[in-house]
Symmetry: C2
Subunit: 155 residues, 2 copies
Amino acid sequence: MKETPEAAFVEQLGLIYQGEGMPRIAGRIIGLMILDARPYSFDELSKALKISRGSVSTNTRMLERFGVLTRVTVPGDRQDYFKLSKQPYSQMLERQLEKTRRVRSQVAEARDRIPADHAVTRARIDDLIRFYDVVTDTTEKALSQFAESPVRKRG
Amino acid sequence: MKETPEAAFVEQLGLIYQGEGMPRIAGRIIGLMILDARPYSFDELSKALKISRGSVSTNTRMLERFGVLTRVTVPGDRQDYFKLSKQPYSQMLERQLEKTRRVRSQVAEARDRIPADHAVTRARIDDLIRFYDVVTDTTEKALSQFAESPVRKRG
DNA sequence: CAGTTCGTTCAGTCACGATTGAACACTCAT
DNA sequence: ATGAGTGTTCAATCGTGACTGAACGAACTG
């Protein structure tokens, strides 16, 4: 696999993930699975992407925790397999949403530590909080949109 | 400035920015200006945040390019001043939106490089593209929401 | 003109997270 | 029990981007 459009797609997804502050390898795993949505064995991931088994372990586990990957096992086969979970993109949005909520509440707590007589300052922090609220709300709307049309598996 | 809730807020915004993959210093500058929305001189930023002039230069210029900061000058004063621009949060959303659009079009191009007979593969990439579309649409909606109530300056 | 005061640039350093690879523990087959 | 096959962990390395500080040029002052 070299220089094919498929390989380029995998690399691109790696870069996209990296751009989002996540490990490049995680993106490449996803890329591979988008191209061909079948279960990949632990070993196959290591070989196909030319990455160490340690990296396969850490990244699959992380993606699993994110709800993007599902670990499947096959009776009679000792290897672990991984495949994209049902709504991988929704899952990512969900994680992002959680992060935003977390940050929002941290900011809100910081706001409350500002002396109450600094009304103007507090009000300005409120603007920031309101910003997070808008982001949260619209992200939720986006999510519900996915729930309606579940990436339409069948017409 | 040490250990005050205000200082903690500034540091927190630094961490938030860092968490978004941006320089921590940029976040601290923003934090400072949210606390007190007045123009800060180049030198004042350097001293208040204990950062080198080089860092002030790079980060203010970056934030300026992002539309988050506005550089203002005062007649008779050779220093540059910086303040938050009108809709700093909208500006950030706007930049994020541009980034999403960019990524989306890259993915779309990658998709078109996949041989046309791999219909199933293409269809799966389409799901990803559709995901970006939803994110883009909802971000736009969020932005228009800000346009309606401009951080409400007056009740 | 020389001397200041600015902001920018850039080579060098530093910090941090990603990645590797070896050691490890566990399971299964014989 | 031994050995092969598995996934995890972790110390060490690597890569990247943030940050510094010195050198610089431009704009002003006298």
